[in-house]
Symmetry: C2
Subunit: 444 residues, 2 copies
């Protein structure tokens, strides 16, 4: 009897042990945490050469190098240097009188940054060194050595002699600890003026904030061309616009319209953090643009930074299981933003034409005309805040579409004020948008 019991118990043990083993195997197949390893080489503080860092972190480094070879495009962006001006000739008109009307190519991967800034036709002998601020891992060292003030005052050509590396490890990491750090003094100072101390940020917050070392709106302040983020009143478009107004700042005067115009840069961080659904759900930039991958026994964050639409299974798949459906949703959102953005451009072009004509008319009311220019300035900045941002709306669709709706309204109002200033209804011509509507008509 006892023998019989023993057999039953032994049988049960085998069954249950097998179940336990299965569970353990399953758990072992879940993503492992990254492991701390002893460095192979010591990295000096602010070391510009990513290749040296790469000896300790070969996976991260070899994925960073992929940004040189990636050239795939998405519908609206991607990794090739296509010309925005050729794709959308309205932008030639919108940037008339400013170098962006001559040369405005899409950004390529981080490994191309230094080469591409040297190749752009926007650079000339008057270009300040400030233009190198986001292009090289030599910068953290140079900023420490020279100070940002001297760095920005040095000419582009002179400063260029000290720059040998494109964007790399030192732009976001602290040597030795590999901690994520704010390296751009302009970002540090902007946060300080907001009463914020980045050293208190969580690691997850830093996985977005280090991107703000570059992917932000900025301008060159004063004669020293001092790199400055217009964040003192906040990072929403209306707050930054108000900042520029209070500073009396313009990037250029629009020819013949005489509007003091602003160029937005690449406000990805501001756009994303303006209450977007993903941001509010705690998702960082790196979660989508640097997803974790597993290769053999290693798990690491991809440093081959590009559009998540180029590897949605990995990028979106960290949270979403229905990747294919997710990509379709992204496409639909971007199509809606694109169509709205183009309608806004048509409205601004109409406003510019009206203001130019009113300016040429000596009898125009100068106050009304200045009001028209003010609205043109605001409209164009709001539009560019969306247009220069690299996500065709996906980083924050509701906010972006609200901003575009405002921009269109402001542009039409600018046109109306110009017509009032010149007392000339013929300035109310409507460009391509109206004619593109095909919903029929009930009236003759």
């Amino acid at each position: 009897m006892q023998k019989y019991t023993t057999f039953i118990l032994a049988g049960l043990v085998i069954v249950l042990a097998a179940a336990l083993a299965g569970t353990l195997i399953f758990m072992n197949n879940q993503p492992a945490q990254s492991r701390t390893t002893q460095p192979i080489v010591e990295i000096a503080p602010l070391e510009p050469e990513s290749e040296l860092w790469g000896r300790n972190f070969p996976n991260q480094y070899s994925s960073l190098l992929k940004t040189r070879n990636n050239s795939l495009d998405t519908t609206f962006g991607g990794s090739s240097a296509f010309s925005h001006l050729e794709r959308d000739p309205r932008q030639v008109i919108l940037f008339t009188g400013y170098p962006f009307s001559i040369d405005y190519n899409d950004d390529r991967g981080h490994e191309w940054a230094l080469e591409d800034v040297r190749a752009t036709k926007r650079v000339n002998e008057k270009t300040p060194g400030t233009c190198y601020s986001c292009k090289s891992s030599n910068n953290p060292g140079l900023w420490t050595e020279m100070g940002m003030e001297a760095y920005d005052k040095t000419s582009f050509s002179e400063l260029g002699k000290h720059l040998t590396e494109s964007i790399g490890c030192a732009n976001c990491h602290e040597a030795g600890t590999m901690r994520l750090v704010v390296t751009n003094p302009a970002l540090k100072e902007a946060l300080e003026r907001q009463g914020k101390d980045w050293t208190t940020y969580s690691r997850q917050e830093m996985r977005s904030l280090v991107c703000a070392n570059c992917h932000v709106e900025y301008y060159f302040k004063g004669d020293g061309k001092y790199l400055t983020l217009p964040w003192d009143g906040g990072t929403k478009v209306e707050e930054m616009y108000q900042y520029y107004n209070e500073a009396g700042y313009k990037d250029w005067e629009y020819p013949e319209a005489l509007t003091p115009t602003l160029k937005a840069q690449h406000p990805e961080y501001e756009m994303y953090t303006a209450g977007s659904t993903h941001y509010n759900a705690g998702v960082s930039c790196a979660d989508c643009h640097m997803p974790y991958v597993r290769e053999g026994a290693s798990k690491y964050s991809m440093h081959d930074i590009h559009s998540p639409l180029l590897n949605p299974e990995l990028a979106c798949g960290q949270c979403h299981t229905d990747t294919e459906a997710v990509v379709r949703r992204v496409s639909l959102i971007q199509d809606q933003v694109y169509n709205t953005k183009v309608a806004t451009e048509d409205a601004i072009v109409d406003a510019i034409n009206a203001i130019k004509a009113a300016t040429a008319n000596a009898a125009s009311d100068p106050d009304l005309l200045n009001q028209a220019r003010e609205l043109h300035r605001q409209s164009q900045y709001y539009w560019d805040f969306v247009s220069a941002e690299n996500s065709m709306g996906f980083h924050n669709p509701e906010y972006i579409l609200k901003v575009l709706a405002e921009s269109t309204n402001l542009a039409r109002q600018a046109q109306m004020l110009a017509a009032q200033a010149a007392n000339d209804p013929s300035l109310l011509e409507i460009g391509t948008y109206y004619s593109s509507q095909e919903t029929g008509a009930v009236l003759p």
Copy 2:
């Protein structure tokens, strides 16, 4: 030795059996599937009295009855009959010449539908019976008995004698099987004209489609006031607008502006299914508005239909764990839509004023003026498609904001064309929107 082994094995069995028991208890706490029960009373086909159905389904019925007592409001909607005209006086202007400018209260719960349609000042002796189409569970029986043509031709007061029940079980369910069904002939016919057969829809699709028995855009076609959904060319706003243009249909002529104007109804189904993120993720109307609850041993779908913002833990919590954060995200989206919608209203009011003035001016160019009216008509319909829809944008934020951006652009163009028609730049006055901007100015 064998005794020793037996003890060890017995110990292992106890430990593993305890783990197994825990797992089973855990599994048992997961939501149970609803069970089929024998009916207590037989329900006749198309039975209008929900109280009878309620004897078989007491939980569903008692939750339906709650729609009588719920009166809580959200920021932008809810379950009380507040006046849209008092909250937003622009709408008095926008609906001038149409009964909605006299009485336009927010909808209350399903139990109030019959009482509220009889109380509205929009109803008079000329009102057709069609107005009862979405207000009573007597309808499926009456439509079968009389046919919808006769139903719609009967006067409101005459038809009213046959209606005793507010919205109830028979509006969405088939007696006996409790299957979800299309009961409104207008919906069935609209789907047929699109080549769609609702009987092939999945249950999850039906959990949205039955809402479209009422929550859709419609109009009264021809002299017979035949209830018709303008879906032949599709259910997007531009497709329905084109339908109305091809039909040469107007709801009323706007006084003094002479615009053939359209009133949108409550296009929740069209808005939600126009590629919204939730819809594309397979979420039905009922998932959020009729969440499953568990009371004792029963699990059932709440029939106390109202805004999910009034019970987000239950409504959003079926999928989202961070309910509080979700509600904040919804609020932010709705605020952005609301502000954009009000700016659109200002633009349409400006357009109306300009068209009225141009119409009063005998020298106005009639072709340009008609073009202005056409744009006013389109702009106002696009705006109302958003405004009359009960979600303040949340059902499909990107689409709604795109539509509002278009509407504002069209309204400004309408104003511009009216000024051109009258050759009078003084018609370009800009209403409250511009003055509400507070971002400063750089020009004098």
